[in-house]
């Protein structure tokens, strides 16, 4: 069954930003620490607005922080390619 997923670099970017805490990032984008943890573990996909806000905190573009992996599409392409 094709599965698609939204992954992110939030944990890495927090580490690079002088090990910013989840609570601090949450405070800056208006989320709880638990929600930041859920985003990092890919258990929750944030709204577009929050995704932009998180990228803005780290001074990155949205696509540098969040990646969508269309696994099903890639699998289909690989199968159809001779």
């Amino acid at each position: 069954m094709p599965t698609e997923s939204l992954t992110n670099e939030v944990r890495l970017l927090r580490f690079l930003a002088q090990d910013m805490t989840q609570a601090e990032l949450g405070r800056r984008v208006g989320l709880t620490r638990q929600t930041i943890a859920a985003i990092e573990q890919c258990r929750y996909s944030p709204s577009l607005e929050v995704a932009f806000q998180i990228a803005d905190v780290f001074g990155k573009r949205l696509d540098e922080v969040f990646h969508w992996n269309p696994a099903g599409v890639e699998t289909a392409k690989r199968v159809s390619t001779p």
């Binding site: 258990r43 929750y44 944030p46």
Partner: protein
């Protein structure tokens, strides 16, 4: 653990035991309580135990949170909305049974208890789904 999850656990633990005892008594010994006063007193005791347990738990939680305001973000609201949507249909089904089907065959306390059961069940489903939402399955998207 987020504030909403704590409150969901508190509601489940304060609500389920007393009402489980009440509905077990009603189901196993339906004629144990005979007069209206006895039945209403039993219901009042159960509701009272629920209220006291909930308020006591809430006060204990407030003390531990040291007066911090209840902060809910978009994930909390999404989990709550999904749980409430499902619980609404449980309640709707219960009300159809109580208000549309049962009046043709039953009356009195049986109707009252079934309506109460539907309300308690809907609440239990709602808070159980909130807890499940925080436990991570299934994956939630805004």
């Amino acid at each position: 653990m987020s504030s909403l999850e704590k409150r969901a656990w508190l509601t489940l633990w304060s609500q389920c035991p007393p009402y489980l005892v009440y509905f077990l008594i009603q189901a196993v010994w339906p004629n144990w309580l005979t007069t209206f006063q006895q039945r209403i007193a039993c219901l009042a005791v159960v509701a009272g135990v629920h209220a006291i347990a909930y308020v006591a738990g809430l006060l204990w939680m407030k003390r531990r949170e040291r007066g911090e305001p209840l902060l809910l973000d978009e994930r909390d609201r999404a989990i709550d909305a999904r749980a409430t949507r499902t619980a609404y249909f449980v309640m709707l089904t219960g009300m159809i049974v109580v208000g549309v089907v049962m009046p043709f065959s039953d009356s009195g306390w049986k109707l009252t208890n079934t309506a109460l059961f539907a309300i308690v069940l809907a609440e239990t489903v709602r808070y159980a789904l909130i807890v499940a939402g925080y436990r991570g399955t299934p994956r939630l998207a805004h």
